[in-house]
Symmetry: C3
Subunit: 142 residues, 3 copies
């Protein structure tokens, strides 16, 4: 680990866009490679990113391009060695450095169930647990 | 207070969406219950959230649903015991842990006056005061 | 410098809106005046803000107003002494406190070249370098 590096970064993910997915993936897997602990807390629309059937679209493009935009980005990312983003995330989770927390209240409000989510996410937590978890680290709202 | 917990979190609120309102409300009132000081600095469109007449709409829904979406969320939140969000915020403010700061430049740029804002907000501050205020704590841009 | 003030703030700029441009400009130049080091890391659409030909539009206004909105804001800001935003940014960069980092992967993904960017930006960096750079400071995602 980088000398003096903050030991934990706690991210809030509140959007379901491809951009936020990309940032989560790049920061989480890079952090894992650098042995920095990174917790991601998925709230509001961000929780969609953890559901198995969801395909994020590009927010920063005009309407008819949003879905296609994501495909184009994925294709270009493959050329840079990022061929299986969720596979890379799963690896970072399994190495113990990256943790994905669903927001309990969002699950309740939106009727999302545990079986809708990827198998490698943590147990759902509330805002109080997130703030306790962030103790000693820093909070970044993506 | 949680042992070693960061003592102050300084949030920047720059959007007027229901989502950002919800995050501010949940984090601020949860922080109050945990005795963490939380300052919220409202800039650009975020300042609208502090005006008495404003009703936030859901940003992450297609156009015709934005207003209705907020009503649906409020109704569902009531079932989880959140019946009067602004009342809860006011309580957290009065307990001294949550502070709401209007951005002075935004007030000037948008012609918003002090009497348009809720009575329990602090005096307007500028970017320099916000950065000084954040001294020793951390900054989170919601 | 303010006593005990965090020495470095590391911002992630991921949008190309006028609002994010404004926040970057105000925070960066105010930080410079207070002698706080501020690094801005431009990723995804945020990188557009560093290209010489780009004019940011107001995200929080309905479609036909987005471009005009930016002009109105710039005109009103001029009345508050902010007549040349990029000139002020350049000054803060030259004084050594404000640094603008293009994201290398975004440049590759979007085909943006160094000569498209303002002369006073730093060399492009990747996510790992950004995390190393943030060592000891804090991360804020605007």
């Amino acid at each position: 680990m980088v000398e003096n590096m903050v030991e934990t970064v706690n991210f809030i993910v509140k959007d379901k866009s491809f951009e936020k997915f990309g940032m989560m993936m790049i920061l989480g897997t890079t952090g894992d490679a650098m042995d920095i602990k990174m917790n991601f807390f998925f709230t509001f629309w961000g929780l969609n990113l953890l559901t198995k059937k969801f395909k994020p679209k590009v927010a920063g493009m005009p309407f008819p391009m949003k879905g296609m935009g994501a495909k184009i980005f994925l294709k270009r990312m493959a050329k840079f060695g990022i061929e299986d983003p969720w596979g890379m995330i799963k690896e970072a989770v399994e190495s113990g450095n990256m943790k994905l927390y669903p927001c309990q209240m969002t699950m309740d409000l939106m009727g999302i169930k545990k079986e809708d989510l990827y198998d490698f996410v943590e147990e759902p937590v509330g805002a109080a647990s997130f703030l306790e978890m962030s103790d000693g680290g820093q909070i970044v709202s993506l």
